[in-house]
Every structure is written in C-alpha cells, then in structure tokens.
C-alpha cells in the first residue's frame, strides 16, 4: 500500500489506513508520537502547517485584544485586508464550483464531470475560508448568526450573507456524494444524485446573485470612491469577472490534479475551459472598456500614478495578456502551459480589480494611510494555507478524481 503522503502513480487514491502515527509505539511521548506524521508531511506541508499554527495564535491575539490592537484598520479604513482580500476578492476565485456544477448537472455536459468534484471541493473550502475571514473581521464575532434572525432586506450585505450561507449549504450537498461513496452509504448518495440538477441550479442562481452583489455593496459609497472604479455597472463587472476567475481557477485545478496528484484531466476539458475563458474575457474586456468609455474615464484618461498604473495592470496584465496567451495556445499544439499562465494572469487580474475597488479607490477619501499589519497578513496567509492543506487532505483520502473518469467512459 502506498503511503498517503506520496502522490499516487496510479489512481488507487484510497489509502486511509496508512497513517503512520496510528501504529506508533503505545507509550511514546507527544513528540515521539507525532514525529512520523511530521516526517510524512514533507517540507511544504510542514511549512504550511506552521503558518496555520502561527495564524491561529495571531487570530487568538485579535480575539483577546481586539481589532484595534491586531490590525491597522481605523475610522478612515473600516474595511481592510480581511474583508476586501478575504471576502470580496476571495469569493470570485471560488466561482468555478457553480460554473462547472451548472455546466455538468443543469446543462448536462457530463464530459466535464471529472472536474466537478475537485471544483466543488475547492469552492466549498473557499467559501469556508471567506466565512472564517469574516469571523475574525467583524467586531462582534459571537453575533455572526444575527443576520439569520435579524432581517434587513434593504441591505446588500444582508443579501450577500444569506446567499453565502445558502450556497455554502449547496456546496456541502454537492460534495456529500463523495463522502457517502467513501462511507459506503449508497442510498444517501443516490438520493442527493437524484436531486443534483435542482441543487446545482439553485447554487448557480445564488451565485449569480451574490457574485454581482459583492459589487453592489459599493454602490452606496459613490462619494468615497474614485470614479475609475465606482460605476453603476459594478454588479455586472463583478459577475462577469467572477466567471472569468472561476474558469481560470478550474484550469489551475486541472493543472494541480495532473502535477500534484498524478491525475491528468482530459485535453477536451482543458481546451473547453480555455475556450470558455476566452469568451468570458472578451466579454469582460468589452464591459470594462465600455464602462470606462461611457463614463469618460479609464486608465488612459488619468495621469500616471498609483491609480493609473493599477488600472492599466488590470486591463493589460489581467485581460489583454491572458487573451493573447489563450489565442496563442489555440494555434499551437500542446499549449497547456500557455493556458495555465493565462489562467494565473486572469485570476491575478480579478484579484487586483477587487483590491482596487475596495482599497485603492478609497485612498482619496481616507485621511490616514492603510498598510495591513503583520497580524492581518499572517491570518490571511494562514487561511490560504489551511485551505490548501484541507484540499490536499481530502484529495488524498476521498475519491475526488476517479469518479468522473468512469462516468465519462
């Protein structure tokens, strides 16, 4: 039996019993008992684990001493890294889950099924990370349940909150058959599978709503934001860019499945993702250019400075460059590296647009500067590492990759 920590050459994937620590000597001390696990984890996972541990300590500090002591947030900067990077920029990266679930289960493109499980798992972990980010960010974390009973239907944040709660439930449901399969609960798995189309449809509907509403959040603050990023089109821009980011992350997940887990994803799927991303990027480019032109602004209308440079970066690095790479990948055989690079630039471009909307555009209105504190960065890094470790942990134990290949046969 192959050790669970080593990537499988074949697709046997289920090595749950092979945890070395479980068969360690009975009377061993704590260090002795975890040593095999530490050795097994490998340097990368060990380093990530250390970051998570440090982040937990930092989060504990924030919980005890408060936001003022732990962060560089201020009255001039009420929203910082945790909300803008952890939620507003993080959520679109998890959009691949709804795109592929809808494509497979609603639109019946079952050829993409092998991507559905990794995508839904990544999405589920992504949403849990965003919720964790909110939890450390809000001033009264013990009241995080209040929006469930205290309704305020005019609040965009209220709508986003409800969509995120419901959609995280949908993601859990969508992923549950994998766990049921492992547990051998075939009946439960079949029941979920029976309703998978309406579940995926509901999930996609919720995503259209809150991915766009993350942009609508800012509609109420026109006087606080730079016209470069404040636009009535924010909901449209946020939705289109979330689909772009989602497709990009799917391409990256396919790459990870191949490189890290030795589970190559079919060329037809990777090519399909690239085609989809090309189309969405063209639409996104049109929306951004149209918005800037109609409102008489845009990076070409501002003098050089931080704002202009970042807006140019969004446009060139985040949209034009990946489009060029995708087109190049299309005319060359075996252009998978180009596609992956395009995906990475797309995701970075969407991240940058979210950071610009939520942070850069508010610089003028703020009377103080904001540079996130070490604790803010550390907690953020800890959540990213925890997400990656969680994905890795599940990927090595549950039938994540085999399922679709059989279905596609």
């Amino acid at each position: 039996m192959r050790p669970y920590w080593r990537p499988a050459a074949n697709s046997s994937g289920s090595a749950l019993g092979a945890v070395p620590a479980a068969s360690g000597s009975e009377r061993a001390g704590l260090v002795e008992s975890i040593r095999p696990s530490l050795q097994a984890a490998g340097p990368v996972r060990l380093a990530m684990g250390l970051v998570v541990a440090a982040a937990l300590v930092a989060a504990g500090y924030r919980m005890i001493y408060g936001l003022g002591a732990a962060t560089h947030l201020s009255d001039a900067w009420p929203w910082g890294l945790w909300k803008i990077l952890g939620v507003v920029a993080g959520i679109p990266l998890a959009a691949g889950a709804f795109v592929v679930a809808a494509w497979v289960h609603v639109f019946r493109h079952h050829g993409y099924e092998s991507l559905a499980r990794p995508a839904v798992l990544a999405g589920f972990i992504g949403y849990l990370t965003a919720i964790a980010s909110l939890f450390v960010d809000i001033g009264q974390p013990h009241r995080i349940w209040h929006p469930i009973v205290m309704w305020q239907p005019h609040s965009v944040l209220f709508e986003v909150c409800w969509c995120v709660i419901l959609y995280t439930t949908v993601l859990a449901l969508e992923f549950s058959p994998v766990a049921f399969e492992k547990l051998g609960w075939q009946r439960a798995g079949r029941i979920v599978q029976h309703f998978i189309a309406p579940i995926a449809g509901a999930g996609a509907t919720l995503c259209v709503l809150h991915q766009s509403s993350l942009g609508s959040l800012f509609l109420i603050a026109p006087s606080r934001m730079s016209p470069m990023w404040y636009t009535p089109w924010l909901p449209l821009i946020f939705f289109v860019s979330s689909v772009a980011a989602g497709l990009a992350v799917l391409q990256l997940l396919a790459w990870v499945a191949d490189r890290v887990y030795g589970q190559p994803v079919a060329e037809s799927i990777r090519a399909g993702l690239a085609r989809g991303l090309t189309g969405v990027l063209v639409l996104y480019l049109a929306v951004r250019l149209g918005d800037w032109s109609l409102r008489g602004t845009g990076p070409w209308r501002t003098s050089w400075g931080l704002e202009g440079a970042l807006a140019w970066a969004e446009l060139v690095m985040g949209i034009v460059l990946p489009l060029a790479l995708l087109l190049a990948a299309g005319v060359r055989a075996g252009g998978q590296e180009w596609r992956v690079a395009a995906a990475a630039f797309t995701a970075a471009g969407v991240l940058l647009h979210r950071l610009d909307t939520g942070l850069t555009s508010m610089r003028e209105a703020a009377w103080l500067p904001y540079v996130p504190s070490a604790i803010e960065w550390l907690v953020m890094a800890g959540m990213v590492c925890a997400g990656i470790l969680a994905y890795d942990w599940v990927a090595r134990r549950l039938p994540l990759f085999e399922h679709g290949r059989e279905a596609a046969r």
């Binding site: 005890i64 408060g66 936001l67 003022g68 947030l73 201020s74 009255d75 001039a76 009420p78 929203w79 809808a102 609603v106 639109f107 019946r108 493109h109 079952h110 050829g111 993409y112 909110l134 809000i138 001033g139 009264q140 013990h142 009241r143 995080i144 209040h146 929006p147 205290m150 309704w151 305020q152 239907p153 005019h154 609040s155 965009v156 944040l157 209220f158 709508e159 909150c161 189309a197 449809g201 509901a202 996609a204 509907t205 259209v208 709503l209 766009s212 509403s213 609508s216 959040l217 509609l219 109420i220 603050a221 026109p222 006087s223 606080r224 009535p232 909901p235 037809s268 209105a365 596609a408």
Partner: protein, 290 residues
C-alpha cells in the same frame, strides 16, 4: 415590472403622509395638555421632524456643545480634539480661512440623513431613522461589520478600536432627551445660538431668512437641505463649504442606488432559475453530450 419606480415612491410617500396625519391626530388626542416641546410622531418627509440649524458665523469655538455632549453621555474625553472618535460624538474643528483673520469653528457630528445610508447598509437593522428625526443605533444587534462606516457619505460613524468587542459610535441626536420632551444637550448648552434646535421646516425657513437678510455675508446655500437627499442637520456659513471641509456628496440619496439593485434581485433570481430550468429541459432532449 409593471409598476414604474417613481409611481411607487410617490405611493409610499403618500402612504407615509397619510400615516403621519393619522398618527398626528392620534397624538393630538392623546397629548391632552402635555406641556413643553413634546416630540410628536411625525413623518420625516413632511418636515415636521426635529432638526438642527448650525450657523457657523455665530460659533465662537467655546466647545460648550462638546463638553455638554460628553457630560450627557458620561465620558471624560478630550473635548479639544478636532476629530470624532468613540467618545467624542461631536467635535469642533478650527479652520483657518484665507482673507480673514478670524478662524471659523465647524461642528461635526452625525448629520441624521433623511434617508440614511448607514441604516440601509446595516445588515441587521441596528441603525434606524426615527420619525422624530434622530438616526439611532441598537448596539445589541450590531455584529460589527462596519458597512455603515463605508456607506456614510459624510464619513461620520466611528468605531471603538480600543475595545475587544467594539461598537459603532456616533451622535444619536440625544434621542432619549427628545423623547423626554427636552432638546439635545449641545443645543441647550450653546451660548450664542449657533446651534438651534427646532422643526426642520421652521429651521429651513429661519436659515433662508438669514441668508436673505445678509446676502453679501452668507454663502447662499443651506448645506443639508438637499445633500445626500437631505439631512436633519442644516448648516449655513459665510465661507464656501468646500473650504470648511464639507464633503461634496450630491443630492441623490445614496440608498437609492442600492435599493434600485435590491429591488431587481428577486426578478433576477426568478429569471436565472427559470433560464436554468429551461436549459436543463432543452438540453435533455438531445441526450447526454460532452
């Protein structure tokens, strides 16, 4: 979308007025000879709600208002501070003015918008515009998301950054005092009448009269009459508002922008769900494909 937007708003306003008239009649019957300035139930829209007029030309910078505010709320903070904070719900800023030897003293506090962005933003409804005028805060509901601070066009709400479980801090227009038939602590303490408490309609008239009486002295603008859809606090001055640090916020109430979106959300949800269902059925006819 059969009902167009403006009609709906007018309809709601009419309803509000109706409600206000009914409430007013009921209050008039109930208040048999209640003395003093009793805050009666009044619609915000009809201008009978309580308001404040700040005449910057009359402020001498004594900060009696700040002292009174801190005493009223039980703090011993530093009243000289120029910025609002968790324990300074009103502050007096000293602003040097070009071409004038005398500085101007500018009061800052919550403007108590007629359509408050903070109240529409608040995820749990902890902030609320009362019919009497104040925008009040229910600390027991607040989850500390700080969306109100992002939403406020005047950047007023502050946060208790020094607390482990902080709350939002802003002027509540002495809602308790108003409910008890008294005027707010700050206007009561003002020795020069630079801060005047009254019904919004009457104060607007008063302000217009002052602007008209000395047209060469006063800037011919009442800040708060239409800013962000109108505020309960009104300001007049002899120095351009921009020089005194008043934000340019436009006359559109910011909540209108998010409400327009929120009203579309149910239709979008139904539309998307319908489209997906239709696609599912149509794609099903052709059998499974890749």
């Amino acid at each position: 979308m059969a009902v167009s937007q403006p009609e709906r708003v007018v309809g709601r306003r009419r309803l509000l007025r109706w409600g206000a008239a009914l409430a007013g009649a009921a209050a008039a019957r109930a208040a048999t000879g209640a003395a003093g300035r009793t805050a009666r139930a009044a619609s915000v829209v009809d201008g009978q709600a309580w308001a404040m007029l700040v005449d910057i030309t009359q402020c001498v910078g004594c900060r009696s208002c700040v002292f009174a505010c801190q005493e009223e709320n039980g703090w011993k903070g530093d009243p000289e501070g120029q910025q609002l904070d968790g324990e300074r719900w009103t502050a007096v800023r000293e602003v040097a003015v070009k071409g004038s030897e005398e500085p101007r003293f500018v009061r800052t506090e919550c403007f108590h918008c007629l359509q408050p962005s903070c109240a529409d933003a608040c995820i749990v409804g902890a902030l609320r515009k009362t019919a009497e005028g104040p925008v009040v805060y229910d600390a027991g509901k607040c989850i500390g998301c700080r969306y109100c601070m992002i939403a406020c066009p005047f950047q007023v709400p502050r946060y208790q950054w020094d607390q482990t479980f902080p709350l939002v801090a802003k002027c509540d227009f002495c809602a308790d005092r108003i409910a008890a038939g008294k005027q707010p602590a700050c206007s009561e303490a003002c020795p020069t009448g630079a801060t005047l408490f009254g019904r919004r309609d009457e104060l607007v008239e008063q302000a217009r009269a002052r602007l008209a009486s000395e047209p060469d002295r006063y800037v011919q603008h009442i800040y708060g009459l239409e800013e962000a859809g109108g505020t309960s606090w009104l300001f007049i001055t002899d120095v351009p508002f921009e020089q005194l640090g008043f934000a340019r916020v436009g006359t559109t109430p910011p909540p209108q922008r998010t409400r327009a979106w929120m009203q579309r959300v149910p239709a979008i949800a139904v539309g998307i769900a319908g489209l997906l269902a239709a696609a599912h059925v149509i794609e099903g006819r052709g059998g499974n494909h890749a």
